[in-house]
């Protein structure tokens, strides 16, 4: 079992990254990361966790999604935008990313978590399933609903169920 400091050093960037990508806010991501490490610290004496990276990722994703869901009706603090002085070249892309995060808070919690771990963290369906203790099929279902809902909210183009192309990839 690794020492605490070693575990923190190994996973701090990963935990912060999960939280930051979901919340889009450095401050929120720091709080989420601290929550995740607190949970790890409290779980440690129980000896039940074998994969600390997976545990921390899962907790960080859950907590970050809670933050985004709470934020649903609040506009983002403009001071949290990245300090990139580019004029407008990335304006549209950043606006869309912000809209994705905004819409993200309106997804079912598990669907949002699955989407984040799959697309933001680039994990495979089986990895996500193992991390969340659900079946790969449940990951596909959650992904489908998350994707459809995001596209509906963002682009006002309701998707038909026959677009469930990834279901056959299990």
């Amino acid at each position: 079992m690794p020492e605490w400091d070693e575990l923190v050093d190994r996973h701090a960037r990963l935990v912060f990254g999960v939280a930051y990508r979901i919340t889009g806010s450095v401050h929120d991501a720091e709080d989420v990361a601290q929550d995740a490490f607190r949970e790890a610290f409290e779980q440690a004496p129980r000896g039940r966790v074998t994969d600390w990276g997976g545990f921390l990722r899962r907790v960080a994703a859950f907590r970050a999604i809670d933050v985004v869901r709470r934020r649903r009706s609040e506009p983002l603090d403009p001071s949290q935008h990245c300090l990139r002085p580019g004029p407008v070249a990335e304006c549209e892309a950043r606006e869309l990313a912000e809209r994705v995060r905004g819409a993200f808070g309106n997804l079912p919690r598990q669907a949002a978590t699955v989407f984040a771990l799959t697309f933001f963290e680039q994990l495979s369906r089986d990895e996500v399933a193992a991390m969340l203790s659900i079946t790969p099929q449940a990951v596909s279902v959650a992904l489908f609903h998350a994707r459809r809902r995001l596209e509906t909210v963002l682009f006002h183009k309701p998707q038909k169920d026959e677009g469930l192309c990834h279901e056959s990839k299990s």
């Binding site: 935990v15 912060f16 991501a29």
Partner: protein, 308 residues
Amino acid sequence: MKASRESEFHLSSPLAEAVHLIANAPLDAAAVERVRQRARRFSESAGAPSARLGEVSAIKPVRRVKAWRAGLAAAALLLAVVGIVFMTGEAAAVAQVAKALRQVRSATYVVTQRVGDQADEITKISLLDGVSRAERPDGSVFIFDPKRKRLLRLNPAAKTGTLSEGATLKDGFDVANFFSDLNKHVTKVEPLVDDREFDGKRAKGFIVDVTGVKYSVWIDPDSSLPVHFESERKQKVRGADGRETEVVVKETWSGFRFNEQVDATLFDADPPTGYAIEVRQVGNREKQIEEQRQRAEEEFRKASSPGK
């Protein structure tokens, strides 16, 4: 970076673009270090600096409460009142520039951006009472009105445009906001840039370090307004073949003119007549979104329940 999952799961193109941007957003190294330091304190507080995970006791962490939210105004005030008096000249300069810019009613300047070895892209910026206007090299025009939360993009050649309502984009091309952000996030200021002359007037130079990204800034020592500044950062870009490469992005903000007469009609974020305008809702569509969320919850419950 691992192979992208977008293609595997067939995200629509704009969503895939946004996901790619989020997935590859650079991380704030200073924030990661703060996370590391705070997490390490859990075991230190338990009196076991090198405790093994199985031996430490559960303790309550020192919660970094949302004090940054509640105390933001107080901190800003403190910075303005105390900081300017006691900070070093260079550190105070950032606050002074931000303060001076808050008094500015109008401004015009040019932002030049070079990505890798590509040609310079020059954007002309003008500001009036908080509304900003950007004229891009391709002829397109952006007008952003933060009070009305409107971002109007116009393509004069095609007579088309997009109006984003509820837009909260604040950074990007407003120099006042840029320095306000610099002031909030600055980690170090160094007087390392030589003073220079711009348009025959001497300007004081310094380097502002914001979590590892350095900005070389020259200001008018009399007015504290910016005269010229430059930044350089590395950024990943995806080529036409889908491959990512890291390029150096250089930006220069120059040609500042403040409080000169500008044409107020150029800052109207209402769609002009004769244009085909697509209207997008960016902000709170709470009721509609909540209904969609509830439907999604219900659909997910049905789809996930055994024996469906």
